[in-house]
């Protein structure tokens, strides 16, 4: 005779899930039937209480609308990741020096010098932000094939004359000024928790038109055609030493915290950290016949502007004196503010990963005050309390 069914098997029988091979026994065994009845009685109250989980008629938010929300979330996360790489992370780790590298493609001097000579016109006197769609840049800087090829192309095209040092910690603004070669400013009444100096960098970038165009094509932007004349152009970039002054509890420069952890974690660990970065204007030397405006237009179109918008933008910018800072589209707001006797730009990201950066240029020095969270007002107050 077959052995009696277990409670689990009897429970499965109540749900119509009992293995068919046990059914003949259950149909003939009064003992099992009685136990099943008792089990059903016991289970009845739990079943009644949990019955509301059974999906009856229920309104569900439209899938298309939810899909759009999800797509935005995914995009925002990619933008945050990009921001870390291109914006926040360099600001924290290398001060302003790495941020200045962003000017490489977007802020060359205008093509108005003498044939056959280099030009040395780029001196930052103002800062302008431009909203960009980071999708294209994400492709280029990600870990995918395109990203690897971009990195390879940069590696092949850049000849470093001077590598930037790892940040060196110093004890005072005076020491930082001596090391960096310019006067470092500290807001009155504030005591830094750390001061770091990063030595300057110098490199030459030689344009390989074929490789650059192939990358644009593969990124799906074959409509953007680089001028033939850019091939072989040598661009010299010289970035002075930068100083990064931290207030509050800030990550140690060189640690991986700002690059590898989630924004929310960083914010919770360093809620009061504010970084004040200072750097003299970088020098960019390019061949006189390099059509910088055409390249800038391609760069802007690649990052989401229409051809008309890019043309309008490039025609209004003085490329010889303006630092262009890209900020993520749809995730940031920026406004002009009066600071330190000049007009600065306050960029605020008020979405899931709040952060702010106040940028301005004065007397040939670039300044940036950045922090996590939403208290951007302190950046303005700090800038206005500089000696």
């Amino acid at each position: 005779m077959q052995k009696h069914l277990s409670d689990g098997e009897l429970r499965a029988a109540l749900d119509g899930e009992l293995d068919a091979k046990f059914l003949p026994h259950l149909e003939t065994c009064t003992s099992c039937q009685m136990r099943q009845q008792q089990l059903q009685e016991k289970q009845r109250e739990a079943g009644r209480l949990l019955a509301f989980f059974n999906p009856a008629e229920q309104t569900v938010p439209p899938a298309q609308k939810a899909w759009r929300r999800l797509s935005q979330k995914i995009m925002l996360q990619k933008e945050i990741s990009m921001t870390k790489k291109w914006f926040s992370f360099p600001l924290v780790r290398f001060g302003f020096a790495a941020l200045a590298l962003l000017t490489l493609f977007l802020a060359f001097p205008g093509s108005r010098a003498w044939a056959g000579e280099f030009l040395n016109l780029f001196r930052v006197q103002q800062v302008q932000v431009v909203s960009v769609d980071f999708t294209g840049l994400e492709q280029l800087t990600g870990d995918g094939t395109l990203g690897n090829r971009f990195t390879e192309m940069i590696g092949d095209s850049v000849d470093m004359q001077q590598e930037p040092s790892e940040p060196v910690s110093v004890a005072s603004a005076e020491e930082a000024s001596e090391l960096a070669g310019f006067e470092v400013r500290i807001p009155e009444g504030m005591t830094p928790s750390q001061i770091n100096v990063t030595s300057g960098a110098a490199f030459t970038f030689t344009v390989d038109r074929a490789k650059s165009q192939a990358l644009l094509d593969e990124a799906g932007r074959g409509d953007l055609v680089l001028p033939e004349s850019v091939d072989g152009a040598e661009i010299l970039v010289n970035i002075p030493s930068a100083v990064s002054v931290g207030f509050g509890t800030c990550p140690t420069p060189g640690s991986e915290v700002s690059g590898n952890t989630e924004q929310s974690t960083t914010e919770s660990r360093y809620p009061d950290c504010v970084i004040f970065a200072q750097i003299p204007s970088p020098n960019v030397n390019a061949p006189a016949d390099l059509d910088i405006e055409a390249l800038a237009q391609i760069g802007l179109e690649f990052t989401g502007m229409s051809a008309e918008e890019a043309q309008a933008f490039t025609s209004t910018v003085d490329w010889t004196s303006t630092l262009i800072v890209p900020i993520p589209q749809n995730a940031s707001v920026n406004e002009q503010v009066a600071v330190d006797g000049v007009t600065g730009t306050l960029v605020q990201r008020s979405s899931e990963a709040s952060q702010f950066v106040l940028l301005w240029a004065k007397d040939g020095i670039l300044y940036a005050i950045s922090g996590l969270g939403t208290n951007a007002e302190q950046a303005v107050n700090m800038a206005n309390s500089l000696p």
């Binding site: 009897l10 749900d15 289970q43 209480l49 989980f53 229920q58 899938a63 999800l70 593969e218």
Partner: protein
């Protein structure tokens, strides 16, 4: 050069295909994942946020590894119920949670009297509280079974043997009743 261009194009096509596949998964499972979460947390807005979070995690999972043969529905149910239970636990003021759930119930029902609806919502609030206090796997098992999933589907979602679902359900329901009675005595 031509070879690498072909490879890049193939990779690009594969990426496009993965993206379409993910969208298809979303459209297929959105309603069912939302419904389970709505019943679990009681608040439509919270349920929508949690459902999106579950899909966001699935997206990253599909980016990290090949998901051929992966049971996306089961994976989503497991993550969604975990998120829902975690959400209930995180309510600091239980009263607020119950009132919120009750408010939406009033908006939903057209037949019962307000008093009946509020009594029903209080009971559901207690059920949710008990589920949040129980062993997570037992709670998931109860939620998924009473949401109408078959033993096979539950087994796939929770990485269990189908044959173990019956015995585990018996134990989970006994534990649920025990804790529900204990909660009633607390009040």
């Amino acid at each position: 050069m031509i070879g690498s261009m072909k490879r890049l194009k193939a990779e690009s096509a594969q990426k496009e295909s993965s993206s379409l596949e993910f969208e298809r998964l979303f459209m297929e499972h959105w309603a069912s994942v939302y419904r389970v979460l709505h019943r679990l947390v009681g608040d439509p807005a919270e349920a929508e946020d949690l459902a999106l979070e579950a899909f966001l995690r699935l997206y990253h999972e599909t980016e990290k590894q090949k998901t051929d043969g992966m049971n996306a529905g089961g994976w989503l149910y497991r993550v969604a119920t975990r998120l829902g239970l975690h959400s209930i636990r995180s309510w600091k003021r239980r009263e607020h949670y119950e009132l919120t759930a009750g408010r939406y119930a009033l908006e939903e029902s057209e037949q019962a009297s307000p008093a009946e609806i509020l009594a029903q919502q209080e009971e559901r609030g207690q059920v949710r509280l008990v589920l949040s206090r129980m062993n997570e796997r037992q709670s998931q098992l109860l939620v998924l079974r009473h949401s109408g999933l078959s033993y096979k589907e539950i087994a796939e979602a929770l990485n269990l043997e189908p044959g173990s679902i019956g015995p585990l359900l018996v134990r989970a329901e006994r534990e649920f009743e025990k804790q529900y009675r204990a909660l009633a005595q607390e009040e």
